[in-house]
Symmetry: C2
Subunit: 191 residues, 2 copies
């Protein structure tokens, strides 16, 4: 998505340790016009009429998913919660996730009331690096018995291995911008 | 807002300890069509042309703010982050907040890059009870030097004192539904 790549080049900030900050337009301040274009692009990439719910994870996925849902006939958005406590409650789908970036462990949780085998789910998130959060969301979809239409990611760090592994497993993973390298502060996109 | 009140009566769940759960349409699963109506109502209540940014707080405010921003000429949305660590970094506005509901303390933080004295801010959040989070957001607006156009709340618990105190202080606070009582599981709205 050219508009997004241009924006990343213009306003993204490369920090030490392979960190790309896009907080000026995506995950702290949100540019709503850009999110609308992102939503339209996800609709183009996931034209399946069956999609009735968008699943994302707090916090930065929520705004993207809410705007995107409007291009999916106002599909419901369900956002998974991150919690430190292990779920002992049968009313939740719950999956442990390890964050490589932050060195933390948390549980990803979704109420069983909001996903079931009649649903066809599109998963949306802002970033994909090692793919731990995304795998957690996919596991929740699996537990629920719902169909998974695919995973839509705004920015994929192609120099980390989450995307490659998921594509090898046959996941319908579509990323709007894939970054192959940010060495020396220079951002290089995959074509 | 009648549509919202009807939805609260139909799908809200009253739990022990004055807790109202609206997770089936507002803050876990999000009904996007309802959020669009909420956004239009906020525009009606806050017609000021100067509003150029919407400030909210993670996580459940984000979707409401993103959809609402579309009725404010795609105003930027900035969402404050909740963190356990005290901010020692001069690049952030930071305010300590105590949550009555959860008995926790956290810092509410916004990057200084995204709010300044040229801005006119509308604060949006899903719930108002004791008003601690809202006061934290207002303090951040004050620190930034921006103008505060007002505060828009989806559901106010009128039986707790946050709303009363803020109105007595002259804050332009508009709540789409004010609940005066949930005793015995029965929800009573203020007229």
């Amino acid at each position: 998505m050219e508009l997004l790549k241009e924006r990343i080049l213009r306003d993204g900030k490369v920090k030490e340790g392979g960190i790309l900050k896009v907080d000026s337009f995506l995950n702290h301040r949100m540019d709503i016009s850009l999110l609308q274009e992102i939503g339209k692009e996800f609709r183009r990439l996931f034209p399946q009429k069956e999609i009735n719910k968008i699943l994302t994870i707090e916090a930065s996925g929520i705004g993207i998913a809410a705007i995107t849902a409007q291009y999916f006939g106002n599909a419901d958005v369900v956002f998974a919660k991150k919690t430190k406590s292990k779920n002992l409650d049968g009313e939740l789908y719950s999956v442990p996730v390890e964050s490589y970036t932050r060195g933390t462990r948390f549980e990803v949780e979704v109420s069983k009331k909001f996903l079931d085998e009649k649903d066809c789910i599109l998963i949306i998130d802002d970033f994909l690096a090692h793919g731990q959060a995304l795998k957690g969301l996919m596991e929740i979809v699996r537990q629920s018995g719902a169909a998974l239409a695919g995973c839509g990611i705004v920015i994929e760090k192609g120099f980390q291995d989450g995307g490659r592994i998921l594509r090898e497993q046959g996941v319908n993973l579509q990323s709007l911008a894939i970054i192959d390298s940010i060495e020396g502060g220079k951002i290089t996109f995959r074509n």
